[in-house]
Symmetry: C2
Subunit: 247 residues, 2 copies
DNA sequence: CGGGGGTTTGAGTCCGTTCAAAATACGTGG
DNA sequence: CCACGTATTTTGAACGGACTCAAACCCCCG
């Protein structure tokens, strides 16, 4: 068991994981590999554990392969020359990370920042290329995944252009519902935010001050209560109304 | 020669075109087909001519195949339940149209409106499927194309979130430069807009009134002169400054 | 000449920003 | 475990860019 020095990279710990037993695989791009392909994947991949705040890859860096998030949450942050930034996507457990740059053939157009403690595998680009060539279904799965990401990005554009901050925040809560929420004893929706207030602002294309004020507004109208990163939504329909009934 | 009735569809005229001699093919997804594949493509495709204002497909309609724009310009407009809309992309001659919905496997998430008079071919989804299976390079080309579209969409999000309208309009002129501009005798950049003022507003996520005022501002600062759809840019660097030096 | 859509101009309003300060949460070392 | 310093979040007040509503203007066509 050799332990890689943490000084070499922002990675704190090394960890092993078998693709065969990885539960995520049933749903993602690597879902129907042959045993031989699965073995190849297992051999070439390297697994690491990242702590919140660590960066998996930086905007502008060349893409050397693709990542597979086993658990945790990663935010893709795009920054301009002036230092303004937006979070364009969240990538969660089971999803592939950094594949856009791989297929575009250039550098990363955004940085990948770890939100929750995450375990992430890296697959070298040559291996990805081999797998793509040997199994055309992988390519088809990527086409589908990217088509969904593109649609989500276009939708975000529409929201940014037409909704006010309050409706955008409500919409964000609804999108976070799938992955980060549960229902409590009294039937309330409890959303556990994977984001700081600053990051929420970056997702909504606004400022932290405005996020604070907007949260206050939702609370005083009894749509939801925010306590730290825990949000309690009393009535889901109210949230939907917030998005649709933009005055 | 049978002529299809124009009452059946928004298509005015029918037209034939050979994929073999189509100059665009050297650059797009269909660039390296075998002679057999090329023949298949030629047999199944149908070609039509669309006039400005006609709609190639509507948001919400099921995707029955993909389109290939031989000439002209098509705008992809995404509309929400309240009737607000943004133009998320322009698709020009040589480009494939409507492929996102094809790969996502659902309905169109935007409408395709013809701006300039356009000649567009349609390829049935079964034929596209056959070609994808027979020639893996096609899938790889689509992956690359979609990766570029995704990056453009993410960039648009960043622009919308961080730039003011004036900078966004300047940025739009710069992006239209590739396809819609030339240089006159005196070294000025002449951009021929494929868009009305209303459509410019939809691309910038703002209102026509604001577009008019912003144009006036650029003119009074002698960055560019707008005359109908013809824009004269005196100094390209001034335009770049407008985007980068957002006060 | 008289519609009719698109564009421009004007005036007032509002949402979100900015800058600044206070309050709270966080992390680290004593 | 508490005290302290720092970063984040919240609150406040003033400003401003873009929106709204409305009217005038323009241009294309019949």
């Amino acid at each position: 068991m050799n332990k890689r020095s943490s000084a070499l990279s922002p990675v704190t710990r090394n960890s092993t994981l078998s693709c065969e037993t990885c539960g995520n695989r049933s749903e993602n791009e690597w879902c129907n590999l042959t045993p031989v392909e699965l073995q190849l994947l297992d051999q070439v991949k390297t697994t690491n554990i990242y702590e919140p705040g660590q960066v998996v890859f930086y905007q502008g860096n060349p893409c050397l392969g693709i990542f597979c998030v086993e658990s945790g949450t990663v935010a893709l942050r795009k920054t301009d020359a002036q230092g303004n930034s937006v979070i364009v996507r969240l990538v969660g457990g089971g999803e592939t990370l950094g594949y856009r740059a791989f297929f575009a053939g250039g550098s990363y157009a955004s940085s990948a920042e770890v939100m929750d403690s995450a375990r992430i595998c890296f697959i070298d680009r040559d291996a990805v290329g081999d797998l793509l060539n040997s199994n055309p279904v992988i390519g088809h799965r990527f086409l589908r995944h990217m088509a969904q990401d593109l649609e989500a990005s276009d939708q975000a554009q529409l929201n940014l252009a037409t909704l006010n901050v309050r409706a955008r925040l409500s919409h964000l809560l609804l999108t976070l519902r799938d992955r980060f929420s549960e229902v409590d004893d009294e039937g309330n929706l409890i959303v556990e935010l994977p984001l700081s207030r600053q990051d929420i602002a970056c997702m909504l294309g606004t400022r932290p001050e405005t996020v604070a004020r907007t949260i206050k507004g939702l609370e005083s109208d009894e749509v939801a209560v925010f306590s730290g990163r825990t949000v309690t939504v009393f009535d889901l329909d109210r949230l939907f109304d917030e998005v649709e009934l933009v005055s």
